[in-house]
Amino acid sequence: MNISGMIKVGMGDLKVCKTPGVLTTLGLGSCVGVALYDPVSKVSGLLHCMLPDSTQFKNVTNVAKYADSGLIELISQMEKLGANKTRMVAKIAGGAQMFASKSHNDTLKVGERNVMAVKMKLSEMQIRIIAEDTGLNFGRTVEFYSETGKYKIKAVGKPEKII
C-alpha cells in the first residue's frame, strides 16, 4: 500500500483486495488493465497484462504477464478471498497503440491483440464485460474502487472518466 491507501499493481503484475480497497495501475500503454469484481462479496482484482498468449512461450515464470494465464490466476486469488466466479463482472481499460506503426513490426499492434485476448479469455470463462475503455493512442492510469465497483480512468490532457 502506498500513502494514499491504494494498492499498486505494476506492469506484468496482479493484486486482489477486499472492500474498501482501491487498486491502481499507473501508465497503462499497450498493456490491458482488467478489473474483476464480485458485486456481492465486493472482492476485487486487477491484472496488468502485457502480452496476449502464454501458450506461445515455453518458460512462463510470471503468469501475470499474459492475458490468459493472468486471468486464471486473478480469479483463483479472488476466490480465496471469498469471491464467487459466477457473479464476477469485468471492466477493462488500456490496449492503446502508443506509437503510430510505420513498419511491419507487430509489436506495435500488441495493444489490440491484448484486448482481443482478454475478451476471448473472459468469454471462455463466462465473465461478462460491463464496461470498457480500450484502444486509441494514449496511455491510461486506472483506479478500481472495490466499494462501488467504479473504474476511474485518467489520461493526459483528457477529463477523468468513470466507467
Binding site: M11, D13, G27, L28, C31, M98, F99, N137
Partner: protein, 207 residues
C-alpha cells in the same frame, strides 16, 4: 534459439555494453549540441537488467509525462531505440531549434504540429549518430526506421519495449544514458536490442 542469457552476463560483458552506450550516446550528444549550438554534458551510462515493474522508476514515476521518440533498429542489429525528454526539456530544445523564446508554460504537454516535427527531427539526427557509432564500433550494419513521437506517461511509453522484451523474459536490459545542458535539458537514450543482437554485438567486439 539464442544462447545468451541476460541473467548471466559477466561483468566484462556489462562493461562492454556500457561502453557502447557511452560511445553511442556521446556521438548523439555531440550531434545534438552542434545542431543547437549549445554545450551539453552526458552522464556515465547505466546498463541495468530490471524487472518490468521497476523500469519506469529509473526515470521517475510511471505517470510522469514525457516526450518519447521511438525508432526501430534494422539491419544486422535489430531492436528498438527510445529517447525520452521531460516536457520542459522538449520545449526548450524545440525553442532553441526554431529560434523561439522559451515561454512561461514550459511544462505544457501541448506541442504544435511544427514543434512535433522538429522533435522527430531531433530524434532522427540523434539516433542516426548513435547508430553510426554503434555500427562503426561493431562493424555491423544497422540503421533506424522513421521515428514516431508521442507525449504521454512514462509507463505507457515503456510498455512498448517491455512487451517486445516480455517475450524473452521477465526483465528488460537497458543501456541508458542521460544527457543535459545545465538544468534545462534532461533526456534519456535507451538502446534495446533484441536478444540475438546482443550476441552479435558482443561477438563483434570479441566476446
Amino acid at each position: 534459439m539464442s544462447k545468451i542469457n541476460l541473467e548471466e552476463l559477466s561483468d566484462m560483458q556489462f562493461d562492454l555494453l556500457k561502453e557502447i552506450g557511452n560511445i553511442g550516446a556521446g556521438n548523439a550528444t555531440t550531434a545534438l549540441a552542434k545542431m543547437l549550438q549549445m554545450k551539453m554534458d552526458m552522464s556515465v551510462p547505466k546498463v541495468a537488467l530490471l524487472p518490468f515493474k521497476d523500469i519506469s522508476q529509473l526515470i521517475g514515476s510511471e505517470d510522469q509525462i514525457v516526450v518519447g521518440i521511438l525508432l526501430g533498429m534494422e539491419g544486422e542489429i535489430t531492436g528498438m531505440m527510445m529517447f525520452l525528454f521531460d516536457t520542459k526539456s522538449a520545449h526548450h530544445l524545440v525553442n532553441k531549434l526554431m529560434m523561439q523564446e522559451d515561454s512561461v508554460d514550459n511544462n505544457s504537454t501541448d506541442f504544435t504540429e511544427m514543434e512535433m516535427s522538429a522533435i522527430s527531427e531531433i530524434g532522427n539526427i540523434v539516433s542516426g549518430s548513435y547508430l553510426t557509432a554503434l555500427g562503426t564500433l561493431t562493424n555491423l550494419n544497422v540503421y533506424a526506421t522513421v521515428p514516431s513521437m508521442t507525449v504521454d506517461m512514462i509507463g505507457a511509453l515503456m510498455s512498448v519495449p517491455a512487451s517486445e522484451f516480455g517475450k524473452y523474459g521477465d526483465k528488460l536490459l537497458l543501456i541508458q544514458s542521460q544527457f543535459g545542458e545545465s538544468e534545462f535539458v534532461t533526456g534519456y537514450f535507451m538502446l534495446i536490442p533484441e536478444l540475438e543482437s546482443y550476441e552479435k554485438i558482443l561477438a563483434a567486439l570479441g566476446m
